[in-house]
Symmetry: none
Subunit: 206 residues, 4 copies
DNA sequence: TATGAATGAGTTTTCATTCAT
DNA sequence: AATGAATGAAAACTCATTCAT
């Protein structure tokens, strides 16, 4: 189940070492602006300024503003989800009850890292989608979680497997994102992980 | 626990009937643009055009662009949440198991109506917040739900009441919004309502 | 044979007197730049500067740069060709031999006025065409000349009338434009008119 | 009356075979872009890309963008006009009436080939002129035709020889270019050649 | 010779907002 | 109250050209 390579639409692939550094600098600058200043401040000129390159250089490597952000998101999603992917692959034979808390904890960490960037982005990012191949970002975890759950079919007490998976996904992501979005959460990470694992397990196995 | 009146900061209170019509026209125009064309197309000039008034008139009633959208959201949240509020007040004495499915169903409908507008808005709406006093929109339901749950304390099997309420809220809103956001949901409204009620009740009472 | 009104694609038709003045000022500025500085110097910012208005005002009335030039051309073609149109209409019954020299003279004057503007324009003006309805400019005279010649069919000694008209048109416009384009012409206007009339008459009547 | 060699200002004379190939590749790329995509798409970077060389290489052989196009035009004019030049030289003693149709036919072919390129160029090519010494392109044929006509003085019935030559030139080029520019010509090449030869001969000999 | 990374001035265009009428 | 003409800062993006490697 290999993922397609995280290829990003760049105008010119940087062949020289120097260019690679430049592209990374641009991405880092964009990242910085989004998280420290907000999406409204993401302008190509500002990115160039923060990255310490000229505006022309930015457009050498990215055809338009959205492509920069798309590349950033792509990168982030892959980076942040990889550990979860690996853990799921290792735990295909481990009973759900044993691996669920760890898994939920990893998802929580992953979503927290993502939310730093993702929560700043426009919710209805039509233009972004055109630049990131299928805009895997938000779909990424859903898919992987699906695969994982399918390997634990035997432990379910629910007839409609597909439905079970979907509800679990909504539970997991919905609760975690709601918790992370709450500016005044009254719970600790541990509590959320515990209750969420518990709830999902209960839902699935009875 | 009466909500503060949904008063919106307007430059000039529309005491005359004619003015009320104008303001409503502007709000409707904004609503229309957001839902039909997308938030990117919300410009003051465009709102004026669609509303059939001059740009000057728009600025007679709203100090700045964001105030229009804020007023719209305010209006929507109140309108859409009011039935839920009423139902909760009526059901303070009804056992959770009896009223939960109805309640979840109402929340689902409410969120669906909201999502038409809210999903188009920038997630990180710093500027909007400045205009709608505490930007009640997303907080609104959480608060109301809280109050309702507090009146059912007796039915809980959980020690930390606050925590229970928060998790329930996350479950409810998170799952519903996840379901609504999913462009290819495999479940029906009825299934979501059933499983969600079930899960929340299980979580709360055991 | 009424021409369709010289309607030009403007974003907003100027309803107030003040606005009409502004639009005219913009067109004059564009005209000035094209003839005094060259087409390369036609930039929207420069037009605004010369017209003494802000760049925003330019875009209030013209959706894009090319629309300004298109409007200018439209205006010029109509203005400059109108006398010829009238003369032809008056001379439908006058023998070709009598009215030809006057007509050629008028065409010469007309083409000279046009060439001031037209010769500065890009030859292959794809973008301009999109803005001026059918980009009548260069076709305008051909059509009118056609109609005129058709009313003198009786004087021709040539079988294929259509062909005769086309060759005449090519002769008239081709020679005049060649003469006007020549930076070092060895002939006077009078000589060109005399010989051209003579040649066209000879071609047509025998 | 040998023409000055078609020497073009190049930064570095391509003494080596390899360099010649490179220069030709650049010119071909420019040619291709002008005719297939339009003059607006002629950018140095695009030329380099199409030519399959780096932008640096382009600037090794041409000091600036316009020099490329100028070289192209120079080349085209010379290539396309050479047969006419030879034919004229051979026909100095042949009566006008005998060689005129062939000559006009050759001019027509020549102008057609040129128009593919020339019609895409900006009419007011100030910058181009600076690079091609006197920008012979359009003047080239006029001169050659002049020389040819001078050798047939004996056949003329017109007093002012210079004037006769000029009018003939205007007739020839003007009619042909008008015919070629017409997107919907109602005549065949043969008809144009026949009538044009006829008209010019009539004009000259009577 | 050839490369291609980098530059940055310059261009088009948008849109929130003001203000005279 | 309402109009709509005018503003101008600021954003996206281009492209001729240079220069270190």
């Amino acid at each position: 189940m290999k993922e397609s390579p995280p290829e990003i639409s760049v105008r010119k692939s940087p062949t020289q070492q120097r260019a690679r550094v430049t592209v990374d600098g641009i991405l880092e600058a964009a990242q910085l602006i989004i998280s420290k200043e907000g999406y409204d401040y993401v302008t190509t000129n500002h990115i160039a300024e923060i990255a310490g390159v000229s505006i022309g250089t930015v457009y050498q490597y990215f055809p338009r503003k959205e492509a920069i952000v798309a590349a950033l998101v792509e990168q982030l999603v892959v980076t942040v989800s990889e550990p979860i992917r690996r853990y799921m692959l290792e735990s295909m034979q481990v009973p759900l009850a044993r691996c669920m808390p760890t898994l939920i904890g990893m998802v929580l960490n992953s979503r927290r890292q993502m939310s730093l960037l993702l929560r700043r982005l426009p919710r209805d990012a039509t233009k972004l989608c055109e630049d990131s191949v299928p805009f895997t970002s938000e779909r990424f975890l859903f898919k992987t979680t699906s695969d994982f759950f399918k390997s634990h079919l035997g432990e379910f007490r629910i007839d409609d497997i597909d439905m079970a998976i979907y509800v679990s996904e909504y539970l997991c992501i919905g609760v975690i994102d709601g918790y992370l979005a709450d500016p005044t959460p009254k719970l600790s990470d541990e509590q959320v992980v515990e209750h969420l694992s518990d709830t999902i397990l209960k839902f699935l196995t009875r």
